[in-house]
Point group: C2
Chain length 477, copies 2
């Protein structure tokens, strides 16, 4: 009997051993593949390298190996101007649910170059968030960076008790911020220039205006009608029906001022032409923008350009008295949107022409590739059209699938009203109602939401008075 | 004692159970991720689908499950016209070292749709090989496909002893080859149309001429000079210094006839303009082309356009008496090259307008993406140039890295001569020397090289007489 049992034990122990080693093999074989596998499997395997944070980890590791004494260096408050191609990123701002953001790459570079000790202490502000897939030619951030200027200067804070010898060694020239960062940043993120900034100057709160561009081909769109319609956006309006209401992050005020809105061809001569392959730009300049505002504005222009809606629709949607709730519609796709410019006062950009030229030739190569590809495709299209192919020329810049028969916007079901959204978040304790001094009611930010901004969150008012346009928790993405 | 043993057994059995289920979980979780894991792990795990051959395997598997009786169906000799974007493929023709070819995807589709039983028996010929990264708007193949035409017709062979009942059931309309294949092909490979073909008609041997296009931006190139230089290619010349000599595959004859060669703007109006961002086409039509011929021809034009070489260089290199050996130079990059057209006689293309329009709208979407991206990049370039950036505008269409100081082509080291290459392969038994009837010497294909073509390899002559231009083992890629 006991013999039989012992044998059974032997068998089981062998079985057990086999499975163990097989398991081990699997998890090793799976290692790189798991980077793309469902997150659930990630928790178990700590050994596995994470494609996104690796270089960041490296940066930190190096720092551990030979500790760097930040306190021995002056700090300088500066503004950096970034350009990036957002097509392969999950957006600009760091997020909880992904590491694949432009900001994540940026801070990896800042840490690796020891220009900052950590994000928390870096006094960091960004001008605008850009959403997944959105690019920027002129994103601006303000931050405190390590400096060489022991003798002071704009934005410089010199550490106390630094012995004279070092002070005397102090070189005239500042750290080559642009070169240094571009050497470690991914090729699709480039620092263009930097400027010293006065203490307290904020890329977010001191930004005077922001300009976005949305590129699109004419196709069968009536661009003249679109240009005319775009003008209706100019001025100060309530855009709650032309954005994603971000009440949960304390955005309760939807009045925004648009300084200019235009639809124009990328090349001037295209005004005369009527070719469906001409490319146009919807360019919009405003003090500040709401979450998804530009892509909603563009979506309406596309409907108008297709003659599916009248230009009057824009005025109707901005009249929140008559239309307090946003009708359901899909916004325009992300990849043609670019944060093209941000306007500031009191910055003196220092440009390294050599570096700019380097960036230029990189852009040229990238441009050549996509341009050649677009013409290869165009050649095929022309070939098929010549062969009698009927091109629908349908606009493919709106999210979601096309409906067979179009339903007018104002006849569609509507989203929740602002008030019911506010109530929702007040109930959940993320917003707090208060009696305002002038009898009006104010709603304050309650518990800080996990998605909210790193910068101090000011109370925002649900009254139409005192619009704080540049203090949104979320700018346009 | 036995009690203890029993307990131990219980423990082990539990352990064993746990591991089993864990293993099961892992392999499920790993399944899709393993698609991207390193091939080494593939051998062990048969359960896992292979990203490249999956549909092919599936096809076969299905076929096993319910055997398909090909002998009960007529076969039809047809020509198919394909368009594909070659950018993400390792070339058109199937290769030993990779499965990522257009042909591999094509045969997966032909098997899956049961239009053929296997490649070997399909009487398959292709018009031209295109190399890694090269696209085609008009690649033509000939092949025998399953047909519905029991009552015969051009290219039809009806199986013997098919009972009358089936014959009578025979529908009037042919199998919808184009629709059927496009439904299972990857989106970047499309069948455009098909034609019945007479028995023995070959896409390879009956092709009258081939037209290639190479797209490039003007940049700082002197396109007028390039257009002038391109004309020198016209006529019949020896191109051994403007191709990759493929002696190993029995290509020993390098005289080719170019019917036309031109450099022209993609849009007519661009002739007037001088903008560096205008796009041009080098279009060349010839009876047949050698391996890498077009990309070598383009490389010379780019040198001439940059004023690094004179147009006379072309004549000098085609004069193999004075220059029997090819000087070392890099060819032009692959992705701007397109096999734009193939000319045949005796084909009547049957086009499914609906299907063509479907392909057109797919192309439109793809075009919109690359065009918008190219203009986003152009917008950034203009911004930097306005800011004083000096763009090198250097031509980035030649392979390899740029040399600081240019070395004239005819002063560079040369490659092996044709004769020494022939000797090399004769020694290795892949070529055989023979006394030609008219005293001249002929070299025949010896052992078939593993890279060689599936189609019958004719003997090729090293004499300049009787050029067999359309029978190369390798056409241009």
């Amino acid at each position: 009997m006991s013999k039989a049992l012992t044998r059974r034990i032997k068998e089981l122990e062998e079985e057990w051993g086999k499975l163990r080693s097989e398991l081990k093999e699997r998890s090793q074989a799976g290692e790189d593949s798991e980077l793309t596998s469902n997150p659930s499997t990630h928790e178990n395997t700590d050994s596995k390298p994470d494609v996104n944070t690796s270089s960041c980890k490296k940066g930190k590791k190096v720092a551990k190996e030979r500790p760097f004494d930040f306190s021995a260096h002056p700090r300088r408050h500066v503004a950096l101007r970034l350009a990036y191609l957002g097509w392969s990123y999950q957006g600009f701002a760091v997020q909880d649910n992904t590491d694949n953001t432009v900001e994540a790459r940026l801070f990896e570079a800042l840490l690796k170059t020891r220009l900052i000790q950590d994000r928390q202490s870096s006094n960091y502000h960004r001008c605008g968030r850009t959403d997944k897939g959105v690019s920027a030619f002129s994103q601006v951030i303000t931050i405190d960076l390590r400096s060489t200027q022991f003798c002071g200067g704009l934005g410089i804070s010199v550490p106390e008790h630094v012995d004279v010898s070092i002070k005397n060694k102090a070189t005239g020239s500042e750290v080559p911020y642009v070169k240094m960062l571009n050497r470690v940043l991914p090729q699709d993120i480039r620092i263009l220039d930097w400027s010293p900034a006065a203490e307290g100057f904020s890329a977010r709160f001191d930004c005077k205006s922001r300009t976005y561009r949305y590129y699109f081909p004419r196709g069968s769109l009536d661009v003249t009608l679109m240009a005319e319609a775009a003008k209706r956006y100019e001025g100060t309006h309530d855009f709650r029906n032309l954005c994603k209401m971000d009440v949960g992050n304390g955005v309760l005020q939807f009045e925004r001022t648009i300084l200019s809105a235009s639809v124009k061809p990328v090349q001037p001569q295209d005004i005369s032409s009527t070719g469906p392959y001409d490319v146009f730009i919807f360019e919009i300049k405003g003090l500040a923008f709401l979450y998804h505002q530009v892509r909603c504005m563009m979506a309406l222009l596309l409907l108008i350009g297709q003659k599916l809606e009248d230009p009057e629709l824009i005025d109707k949607l901005m009249d929140v008295q008559s239309n307090p709730r946003k009708p359901q519609y899909s916004m325009a796709v992300d990849y043609p949107l670019v944060l093209h410019d941000c306007h500031f006062q009191g910055l003196a950009w220092e440009q390294d022409i050599e570096e700019v030229s380097h960036v230029l030739s990189e852009l040229h190569q990238h441009w050549t590739q996509s341009t050649v590809r677009s013409h290869v495709l165009h050649g095929m299209i022309q070939g098929l059209e010549a062969a009698g192919g009927v091109s629908s020329n349908a606009c493919c810049l709106v999210e979601g699938s096309k409906q067979r028969n179009y339903r007018p916007l104002l006849e569609r079901p509507c989203c929740e009203s602002l008030e019911s959204r506010i109530n929702h978040f007040v109930k959940r304790g993320r917003l707090e109602r208060e009696e305002g001094e002038n009898g009006g009611e104010t709603v304050h930010r309650g518990k800080k939401s996990k998605h909210s901004h790193s910068s101090p969150s000011l109370p925002v008012s649900s009254e139409m008075s005192s619009p704080k346009q540049s203090t949104d928790e979320k700018a346009e993405d």
